[in-house]
């Protein structure tokens, strides 16, 4: 039942209004609280921005991956905002030192990336360890722009770096939530999710820092390519599909279609004459 409810919940959430996904998600969790953890982890919602008081009110993005209870861990200060109690903090998840170093490096690097591609917005990278293998880790790269405007771009890249033999596999699940609003007159919003995987030969004899740089470089290149692809997909899915729908409503190319028909008939006649 859990799986079916979970799938059903996901299906419902996919078919509901994306602009109200947070409300719908909460209602689903209310309906089936056992699915709360999975749904919160699996359903991407628009990113929220918080300011890290420990990092001079630097903004950071909040998602379920850096949340603990109602607080979100800031990548800049590695502290939850709002601060948790000591007891809560003991149970709160924190990345290991190595991963934290990598996380800091990743935040710095993706902040540059954000500045280059978004010319604004907010970026945050959160990493965590996967099991006992120190080499494997996971994380999330968050990119958001348009918090203060009606339109927004939310990019959520869930990364998994797994060392399989002599290769390092990078599996990235990307979700882009696009919302286009124009003063209540028109809204166009949706989300697109794609999962990509790419493997690199495992480097040998690299220091921790070098290994971090290597990982960040690989991740950065992957995120860059994926985002560009996703952007094109969004353009096709949203805008071209809407155009098709628009043309279905009223065909403005009747003349051209008739001309095409005549041309096709001529071609067929020519072929028959051959």
């Amino acid at each position: 039942m859990s799986t079916e409810a979970f799938d059903a919940a996901l299906d419902i959430l996919r078919r509901l209004d994306p602009t109200k996904i947070e409300k719908n998600l909460a209602q689903l969790i209310q309906l089936e609280p056992s699915l709360a953890e999975d749904l919160l982890a699996s359903v991407d919602t628009p990113l929220q921005i918080k300011k890290d008081p420990n990092a001079s009110q630097r903004e950071f993005l909040c998602c379920d991956y850096n949340r603990d209870i109602d607080s979100h861990r800031s990548p800049w200060s590695n502290q939850y905002v709002p601060a948790l109690s000591t007891e809560e903090l003991e149970e709160s998840p924190f990345p290991s030192e190595s991963v934290r170093k990598l996380e800091v490096l990743a935040n710095d690097s993706f902040d540059i990336y954000r500045d280059l591609y978004y010319e604004g917005g907010v970026s945050s990278v959160y990493l965590w360890d996967l099991g006992d293998n120190s080499s494997d880790f996971a994380g999330v790269v968050l990119l958001k722009k348009g918090d203060k405007s009606l339109s927004s771009w939310d990019g959520i890249h869930i990364i998994e770096v797994l060392q399989e033999g002599s290769e390092v596999v990078y599996r990235i699940t990307t979700t882009i939530i696009l919302h286009l609003g124009a003063a209540r007159k028109m809204t166009l919003s949706g989300n697109l999710t794609r999962q990509t995987e790419k493997s690199f030969p495992a480097p040998s004899k690299l220091s921790e820092d070098q290994l971090h740089v290597w990982h960040i470089s690989n991740l950065g290149s992957l995120v860059e390519t994926i985002e560009s692809q996703m952007r094109n997909l969004l353009e096709v899915v949203y805008f071209d599909k809407t155009r098709d729908i628009y043309h279905e409503l009223r065909d403005s190319s009747s003349q051209t279609s008739s001309q095409n028909k005549t041309a096709h008939e001529e071609v067929i006649k020519g072929l028959q004459g051959m």
Partner: protein, 672 residues
């Protein structure tokens, strides 16, 4: 190689041609010799009067034997001629000889040389006049050769003796009479000097010429052709001197050549435009040559003994003028050694031609050269290099005569004997000779006659070529070369080539392209067939099933009461037929219903995937067709919907869930 062969082959042809011409000339000479005296007759009497009696006396003295040359003695005809003939000849000489044009000196040196040094000098130049056909005409009746044109020119010149200068000027192609005045002056002086003619040695003459040449060297050498012309006036004497002995067959002496070279030098000087200095020098030279002129006069008197000789002496004077000096050298050596009648005739012909060109002068030769040039191009090259320049010259003159006589030739050679026998033709020809217009007509006819000659040459050439080709065509050799291997290979080569061709024909993918087109056509045909099938099935099924069924039912209902009592079988049949129709209709309906349900129906397996195009008109008429159309569309949609439902995949399910963490406070509250 072929070119050389052709060149070598042309020569014998030319020779044969020239021989023919010679024969024709000889035949003509025979005729003219018969009519010869008529040519000599027209000597105007006023000319006889115009000349002083002293000249006659001198000539008489010469005829008496003072200057009897060896050749004349050998001929033994010196004293046979009468004074009338002498006068006529002398007048002819005076009229046409260079004396009247100041060329008297040309005659005198001949005579002097003949007298003083009969050995070489006489042999060089005096012979052409000695070979004059008049001599032979009296003896052999074939020696005189004069073309008709030349003869006509002579006639005209005789008629217009008084206007010789004008005529010479009027004639365009026969040279330019620039120097006539100077020559006339010289001739007058020479005439005066002739009275005191004294024999002089050839060396003195030569020296005098050399002096002239030395003087001439100062002046730039003029053009050779004109130099010859002008030299004929003053230096023609010099030119004539060496030739006379040459014709006598006297052995040559090297100094002769030197003399001729001197002539070469002297000629240009004379040819130059008339200058006072030149004239003075010429006069001085002539004065110094008083003795020479006297000797010339003496030689002339010896020549005058024969009318014919005189005529040809005057003719011969022109001849050396025409010829370049270099030719004269060779003439002395070779051509005149053997004195045959033929050679004489040749020389006479030449002399005649040259004589005719005396006053028009040298243009006769260029004409001949021009006419000859196209015929024997090879001999042109041979002329400068050729050893027998005399022969070449003679050939030239013969070619001239040929060119003129060619038109007459084809008629004559075909019937030479008959022509000789037929007097009227000869008389006609004599009349024609008097009328130049007829000559012009002949000239017009010439090209027509040349045409057959050309093909003859071609035939000869072709025959030779054919012979060569027949010899060469062992081009089967090429066949043998092709089978360079063995004979079996030759047999095998053909099938190999064919096999290769077949392979090559197979190689190109052209047929594939052709096949591609029929595919489209086949598809189109299949489309049509499908359409037609659908239509036929629908159209046939409809009426057969519904309409015919209804009609059958109606008919059955109508027939039932009739058939019930009469024929149960028939009712049964009708019932059966109705049942069959109903079954058919039901089957058709089933088929359509099954079509709607499944695509994999038997009758539409292949057509299920292909789109079925149904025309609008048919769709509107048949409801079954509408069903069919709907079934297609509707049946295709549901499975797609069914397939799409499970297609939803949630990628986010498999992604990393993140670290373990506590749920938000609000959510926690809700489950509670």
């Amino acid at each position: 190689m072929t070119g050389l062969m052709s060149v070598s082959e042309r020569d014998p042809e030319l020779d044969s041609y020239l021989e023919r011409v010679k024969q024709l000339d000889e035949s003509r000479q025979g005729r003219r010799n018969r009519s010869g005296p008529s040519t000599v007759k027209p000597k105007p009497a006023h000319l006889n009067q115009s000349y002083p009696a002293e000249d006659f006396k001198k000539a008489q003295v010469i005829l008496d034997g003072e200057y009897v040359s060896e050749r004349y003695e050998s001929e033994g005809r010196v004293g046979t001629y009468s004074e009338m003939a002498y006068r006529s000849a002398y007048n002819y000489e005076q009229t046409f000889s260079p004396k009247k044009h100041g060329r008297n000196s040309s005659l005198s040196p001949h005579k002097q040389t003949s007298l003083s040094s009969p050995s070489k000098i006489t042999s060089s130049r005096v012979e052409p006049p000695s070979l004059s056909k008049f001599d032979d005409h009296g003896a052999h009746s074939k020696t005189f050769v004069v073309s008709e044109e030349d003869y006509l020119l002579l006639r005209k010149l005789k008629a217009n003796i008084g206007d010789d200068d004008v005529e010479s000027e009027s004639l365009p192609s026969r040279g330019k009479p620039r120097e006539l005045r100077t020559l006339e002056k010289n001739s007058r002086e020479l005439r005066t000097l002739e009275k005191n003619h004294r024999p002089q040695s050839n060396f003195s003459k030569r020296n005098s010429y050399t002096d002239i040449s030395s003087d001439d060297e100062e002046t730039p050498p003029p053009l050779p052709s004109r130099s010859v012309l002008h030299s004929s006036g003053g230096n023609s004497d010099e030119a004539d001197i060496p030739r006379a002995p040459a014709r006598r067959g006297v052995p040559k002496i090297p100094p002769k050549r030197a003399q001729f070279e001197v002539h070469n030098n002297t000629k240009p000087r004379v040819t130059g435009p008339p200058r006072k200095a030149d004239l003075d020098s010429n006069i001085e030279e002539m004065e110094g040559k008083d003795e020479e002129t006297s000797t010339n006069q003496g030689s002339f008197s010896s020549l005058v003994k024969d009318k014919r000789k005189e005529l040809y002496s005057s003719i011969a004077r022109t001849r050396p003028k025409e010829k370049p000096d270099l030719e004269i050298k060779s003439d002395d050596e070779q051509d005149w050694r053997p004195e045959n009648n033929e050679q004489k005739s040749r020389s006479a012909g030449k002399s005649n031609l040259s004589q005719l060109s005396v006053q028009p002068q040298r243009h006769v030769e260029p004409r001949s050269a021009r006419r000859q040039a196209p015929l024997p191009p090879t001999k042109r090259a041979e002329r400068p290099t050729g050893i027998d320049t005399e022969r070449s010259f003679s050939v030239d003159s013969q070619v001239k005569s040929n060119a003129k006589s060619e038109h007459l030739i084809p008629k004559v050679p075909l019937k030479p004997v008959s022509l000789r026998e037929c007097p009227p033709k000869e008389s006609k020809r004599g009349v024609e000779d008097d009328k130049p217009i007829l000559d012009a007509a002949r000239l017009k006819l010439r090209p027509v006659k040349e045409r057959p000659q050309v093909p003859e040459k071609r035939v000869s050439l072709t025959s030779k070529k054919d012979a060569e080709q027949n010899a060469v065509p062992p081009k089967p050799i090429l066949r043998t070369v092709k089978p360079s291997g063995t004979s079996k290979e030759t047999h095998e080569n053909i099938p190999e080539a064919l096999a290769k061709r077949e392979k090559l024909a197979k190689a190109p993918p052209v047929p594939q392209r052709k096949i591609s087109m029929p595919d489209a056509l086949k598809r189109a045909e299949t489309m049509r067939q499908n359409r037609s099938k659908n239509l036929t099935t629908t159209t046939k099924e409809k009426p057969v099933s519904m309409d015919e069924g209804n009609e059958a039912l109606l008919m059955a209902r109508k027939l039932r009461p009739l058939s019930d009592g009469n024929n149960l079988k028939g009712t049964n049949h009708n019932n059966l037929s109705e049942n069959d129709d109903v079954q058919q209709n039901s089957n058709n309906l089933r088929r359509f219903l099954e079509k709607e349900k499944s695509k994999t129906f038997d009758g539409f397996d292949g057509n299920a995937q292909s789109p079925v195009a149904i025309p609008f008109m048919v769709q509107g008429t048949g409801a079954e067709v509408k069903k069919l159309f709907k079934s297609k569309t509707e049946s295709s949609l549901p499975p797609a919907k069914k397939g799409n439902a499970p297609a939803l995949t949630h990628v986010t399910k498999s992604r990393a869930r993140g670290p373990r963490r506590k749920l938000p406070s609000g959510i926690e509250l809700t489950p509670n």
